[in-house]
């Protein structure tokens, strides 16, 4: 089976090829324990409302339910959402400002108590409107929400300030676990150290930095699921350990994603025992010039930086060694709101004729008095793909006479430099979970509106274009508005240079069935639909 996820893969025309997914035609088997590796040391806490790391998701998502989610049997879809705790996806009323969800009856928490709409509404209220002293990492995602109410035990109503296409994808965020109202109200920090949800598995043991173990939840509300008797997640930070563990069958799958070299090695060594699923990733590197530093305050210089990079030629070459593959704009390439190849080719940095592009870059540098410019590229000390992409970009810049040094620092100083504005050009990443173009592209707004934009620019026009796009509910018009915002960001002002989208490669033992890859390592991680095609 091959899945077409994106549009412009490395000049090949298609992106994702699922190498081996023979599960569809088979009937799931019950039983067995799935051992998987989690590429982290340990989650900082189990409270998904406050955390942002995949370590929390990979460790504890199987123990929780959510209101809605991406479809587990088609998680690659960027537009489809299905119920988990609700009974059917609602049609919005009140001109798209009210969403009424009916909650399943008979759902039980792992302590045996009944889950009602009150638990759902309270959990959501803690996410959207955290009480004093409570951390919620996603308050800004739900800025459009006015109220969350539970008029009775089976109904939850979301009232929005305005109709927006960003709401449903935001609602399907994988971190929005449903907690028990009674516990939350008694101690809002309880879930940081404890696990008690209503998901397909019940946690039975946790050893910090070692493993987390769960057993089948017999009362799970999705009929027949989960198929497994239990799960064991082993924390293994080092990539070589995870690869060796897959080879020696100490672990059956790693859900985050491994680089192409690991794929090639494992496929060569494991043969038919190893299967590969791959997909475009809703994460991408971006270059942020510091507008507060000369000469990066000059749009000609920023434009030259973009024009020098041959993304079309670089993509297939880099894809051989790094977790990147697809050329795209500010919107994830698999989304209906994403730019087509023809649209991309109109913008700086995506011209089809690279010689013409570089000649223009040199002309602009000369005009701006920045020929032979020397500067530093601030990069994060993460191999895949930051350092690979950084090294490639420097090589591209050298072709127009720029002399760039890569300053690679650990995550702490990397953030610190960007937040303090002490850099020339920074290599960043925009990494999201559910594909939600309206919210995902907020990253490119000026820092006064979006404080985590480290470019240091102010641009009312950019805000105006974004607002127009985000309030538009007609898909066709919204797409046009998105193009205008994208062109302004990447071409007219070149506030940011969007580089290649990451590529997710998930390796598993061939007996692991039922799980399908999504464009994010945060999605589809409750493991309810996984089954093992082997004797116990």
């Amino acid at each position: 089976m091959a899945v077409r996820l994106g549009l412009w893969a490395a000049g090949l025309g298609l992106v994702a090829a699922v190498a081996a997914l023979p599960a569809e035609a088979q009937t799931p088997k019950r039983g067995g324990i799935l051992t998987y590796v989690i590429p982290a040391d340990a989650p900082p806490s189990f409270d998904a409302h406050r955390e942002t790391t995949y370590a929390t998701i990979h460790a504890a998502a199987p123990y929780y339910s959510v209101l809605i989610r991406v479809p587990p049997d088609n998680p690659a879809s960027t537009t489809e959402f299905v119920c988990d705790l609700c009974t059917e996806m609602p049609t919005p009323t009140d001109s798209g400002k009210t969403y009424t969800f009916k909650i399943r009856e008979g759902v039980k928490f792992h302590d045996g108590s009944k889950l009602t709409a009150q638990d759902v509404a309270t959990s959501w209220n803690y996410i959207v409107f955290p009480p004093k002293g409570v951390t919620s990492a996603r308050v800004s995602y739900y800025e459009m929400v006015d109220k969350v109410e539970a008029p009775d035990d089976t109904t939850v109503v979301f009232r929005l300030k305005r109709a927006t296409t960003a709401f449903l994808p935001a609602l399907a965020d994988p971190y929005t676990w449903i907690y028990k109202k009674e516990i939350l109200e008694k101690d809002p920090h309880w879930y940081e150290k404890n696990v008690m949800g209503s998901g397909p598995f019940k946690m039975v043991a946790y050893e910090v930095g070692q493993s987390i173990k769960g057993e089948r939840n017999k009362d799970y509300y999705h009929e027949g699921q989960p198929y497994l008797d239990g799960i064991i997640g082993i924390f293994a930070d080092k990539q070589s350990v995870r690869v060796d563990a897959l080879r020696a069958d100490r672990a059956a799958i790693e859900f985050r994603g491994l680089p192409p070299s690991a794929r090639d090695q494992l496929v060569k060594e494991g043969g038919k025992d190893i299967v590969v699923q791959d997909s475009d990733w809703n994460c991408g590197n971006i270059l942020t010039p510091n507008h507060k530093k000369k000469p990066f305050d000059d749009v000609r210089v920023r434009r030259a930086l973009a024009l020098a990079i041959d993304q079309w030629k670089g993509a297939p070459a880099l894809a051989k060694i790094a977790n990147v593959r697809t050329v795209g704009g500010i919107v994830f390439p698999g989304s209906p709101l994403a730019a087509t190849k023809a649209e991309l080719e109109q913008m700086a940095g995506f011209w089809p004729d690279i010689e013409k592009s570089r000649a223009e870059a040199k002309r602009l540098l000369k005009e701006a008095g920045a020929e032979g410019l020397k500067f530093e590229l601030l990069n994060r000390n993460v191999d895949q793909p930051y350092k690979f992409v950084g090294t490639w970009v420097i090589g591209e810049w050298k072709k127009i006479g720029l002399n760039v040094e890569q300053k690679v620092v650990p995550t702490g100083p990397w953030f610190s430099n960007m937040r303090a504005g002490t850099f020339d050009v920074a290599m960043e990443a925009n990494c999201q979970s559910v594909v939600n173009p309206v919210l995902d592209t907020g990253k490119y707004l000026p820092y006064k509106v979006y404080p985590e934009n480290y470019g240091g620019y102010d641009d009312p026009k950019s805000v105006e274009l974004y607002d127009k796009m985000q309030t538009e509910t007609d898909p066709k018009k919204q797409r046009e508005d998105m193009r205008a915002y994208e062109k302004h960001t990447m071409d007219t002002m070149v506030h940011e240079i969007v580089l290649l989208y990451w590529y997710r490669i998930v390796l598993a033992r061939s007996y692991v069935k039922g799980w399908k890859i999504s464009p994010s390592h945060y999605l589809n991680q409750d493991l309810a639909n996984i089954w093992l095609d082997k004797s116990p």
């Binding site: 040391d41 951390t135 990492a137 150290k193 672990a251 702490g412 953030f415 907020g442």
Partner: protein, 323 residues
Amino acid sequence: MHRYIVTRLLLAVPTLAGAAALVFILMRLIPGDVCVIRMGAGGAHVDQSMVDLCHQQLGLDKPMILQFLNFLWSYVTFDFGTSMWSGNPVTHEIALRLPVSLEVAIMATVIAIVIAIPLGTISALKENTWLDHVVRVTAIAGIATPSFWLGIMSLILVLNISAMTSGKPWMPPIDYVPLWQDPIRNLSMVLLPAITVGYRYSAVTMRLTRSAMLEVMREDYIRTARAKGLLEQIIVNRHALKNALLPVVTLIGIEFAFLIGGLVITEQVFNLNGIGRLLVQAVQNQDNVLAQALVMLVVAVFVVTNLVIDVLYAWLDPRIRFS
């Protein structure tokens, strides 16, 4: 002797205080912020109001001097605080990892002693023979080979050999089980890292044992012992080796202390959840409270090890008296 030990322990207090001040300052010199890393490292949006709340909850909004005084006071009262990253008590975080590091360190030390002292002695006694050359080459190779590289190579070797012989690649378990729960599983996980670390450790010790023995064997009292007609075995074991062991014991002690917190990469290669890995995580996450506690733990281990070494000196060489 008792008085000496008490004096040494009292002298450890300023050492620990100095180390505490140093680590406190150094951790704060690293640019970065635990709250920002926690909220934004995945590439997600970081809400400033949540960062501020996090600072407030961790006490990072207080003046630096107040933070330092709180830190000192917490150590005086033996309250080492809670990890800024996980929220767990630091003692809990350390208690989880210490047995793993201790087990590897002890096993590596035993392996090193068992290999190094006999081979170093033989090498000295058979100076410039083929046996001496073999031991010296082995020792130099051990010193030159980083133990993490050896670890990676040994894992690959185990995987490939098992794949070739049985058709199924095998590697040690990657989740730790305590020795008393499942000795076979525990040893199959810990033995390989202990050997790879122990080999380098033994190589250094072997070299030192050899040179110390060579020196001692040329001493007048050894010549006197021979002149008295003592058996060579008695001369070596009772007179030479005991004296030659003084610097070797120092080295073994220091290496052991180093192993408690220094097996960073080896622990990663074998997925051992030990102190070295925890220290690296703490520094990467800018978890100052945990990093400070871990450094203090390593300092304390060094202080205690040095004390034990000094006491051993008296046993090995009765001429040494503590006053």
